[in-house]
């Protein structure tokens, strides 16, 4: 196990140099006998990503606030030294992650955004919704603070999001797709890894081409042709619902929606195969 934890520290050091060695090292870990270690590494990576905008001062400040709440002696008894090493390694990973991000921001010439920031941010959580209200209510409240033409920025668990209250301004941004405005590369990577290489992940000329197909297949004229199928699966869904309620059974609506949707998409013309023959 000692070797394992020293690897943690090594991993943290590698992150400062470059991203690529970490991947190589991670692949190396995945073949070692410590089951689940690579998975933990991956989880840590996701966690550190969420701390990308967190200042080191915030971490120190937090530790200064909470350290007196934990009696050191009982902490020492409860937690084995190896776990302490792991915690230290984790802390080092966080700090290194922050330093990497800062370095990258500097090298790419990124500057602070000009938008007004939503007040009342908390450490770690940022402007995340409080317990008493939904996210929608919170966003509505923010929008009321900045008016109909307002643009403001909120920090949601370490990630910065810019909100636009004006539809026309939003359409200006959308009109810059796909060359100037691009989607999240992380989402694209995740979807591509699952071989979902579709319109949601495409960029540039691919996006233009694929969008043309998808939009044409979903235009008014074509949607008209789908209507009989929609009516068919809806009537069957309702029939099933009625049968369930007559028998006093619980009807799992969500599960049945999936079947309806899939079959309306896969239905062969001429009703070669009967849709929804055995579902729910």
């Amino acid at each position: 196990m000692e070797k394992n934890y020293s690897s943690w520290l090594f991993y943290a050091r590698l992150r400062v140099i470059e991203w690529k060695p970490f991947i190589l090292k991670w692949k190396c870990f995945s073949t070692n006998p410590y089951a689940g270690f690579s998975f933990v590494c991956l989880k840590i990576q996701h966690l550190t990503d969420s701390f990308q905008y967190l200042a080191v001062g915030d971490v120190v400040d937090f530790l200064l606030h909470v350290h007196h709440l934990i009696p050191f002696t009982s902490f020492h008894q409860a937690v084995p030294p190896s776990m302490v090493h792991a915690l230290v390694a984790f802390g080092a990973t966080l700090v290194n992650s922050y330093l990497c991000k800062r370095k990258r921001m500097k090298s790419e010439g990124l500057v602070e955004s000009p938008w007004k920031k939503v007040p009342g941010g908390r450490r770690f959580f940022g402007n995340l919704t409080r317990e008493s209200s939904t996210f929608q209510e919170t966003v509505d409240h923010w929008a009321s603070l900045y008016g109909q033409d307002g643009i403001f920025e909120a920090n949601l668990a370490g990630k910065k999001y810019v909100f636009l209250c004006n539809e026309k301004k939003a359409s200006i941004i959308f009109s810059k797709r796909p060359f100037q405005v691009k989607k999240s590369r992380r989402l694209s990577k995740a979807m591509n890894s699952l071989h979902l290489c579709g319109i949601f992940t495409a960029e540039g000329e691919d996006w233009e081409r694929e969008r043309r197909f998808s939009c044409s297949a979903l235009n008014h004229k074509n949607v008209k042709n789908y209507l009989p199928t929609v009516k068919l699966v809806t009537s069957r869904s309702l029939e099933k619902w009625e049968n369930h309620s007559e028998m006093g059974h619980v009807f799992v609506f969500f599960r049945y929606c999936f079947s309806c949707y899939l079959l309306s998409r896969f239905e062969q013309f001429e009703h070669k195969h009967q849709p929804n023959a055995d579902n729910g």
Binding site: T134, Q136, M191, S193, L194, H195, L196, C197, G198, I199, F200, T201, D206, R209, E210, R212, F213, S214, S216, A217, L218, H220, N222, V223, K224, N225, Y226, L227, P228, T229, K231, F253, F254, C257, F258, Y261, L262, S264, R265, F266, E267, Q268, F269, K272
Partner: protein, 158 residues
């Protein structure tokens, strides 16, 4: 495509559980269905001969329409791109549709102001659902339309 299926199968066998592979098993199944559906449609299009375009155009299948559009395009999509798009639309479409429907049902059930009766009365104004066309649904149900917009705003699936 075959490489991908092989890789997915390997990853499944390593983990030994269909839901612990990050969704690869499900995606694989959807992709296989897409591939099968494309092959079936192409076979059918060949069988019907000269009328294939019209037949597919008036069909009720999204995939069939995509295939016709692709055939007529100057720069068509390759099969993998087609499958990728289909899988994306299915997975994205099912989740959003199902969540929105469930949210709307929940909102109606929770409401205490007689919304359910109001929506039912409006729906009754359409004489025959079977004969109603898209315009009728789009313009003849303003209350339901507003309700759905509100559900999407407050409990949006995305």
């Amino acid at each position: 495509m075959l490489d991908y299926v092989e890789a997915s199968t390997k990853s499944n066998s390593l983990l030994g559980h269909p839901y612990l592979d990050g969704g690869k098993g499900i995606i694989k199944k959807v992709n296989e269905h897409c591939l099968h559906a494309i092959a079936e449609l192409k076979k059918l299009a060949k069988a019907v001969g000269g009328n294939e375009s019209e037949k597919v155009k008036t069909s009720q299948s999204f995939l069939a329409k995509m295939l016709v559009l692709n055939k007529e395009a100057e720069a068509p999509l390759i099969t993998d791109q087609m499958i990728g798009n289909m899988s994306t639309l299915i997975i994205a479409g099912y989740e959003t549709t199902a969540v929105t429907l469930c949210s709307s049902m929940y909102a109606i059930a929770e409401d205490q102001t007689g919304l359910q009766e109001e929506l039912a009365q409006e729906a009754m104004l359409i004489e025959s659902i079977e004969e109603a066309d898209l315009e009728k649904f789009a313009t003849g149900l303003p209350c339901l339309r507003s309700f759905m917009y509100e559900v999407l705003r407050l409990k949006g699936a995305i």
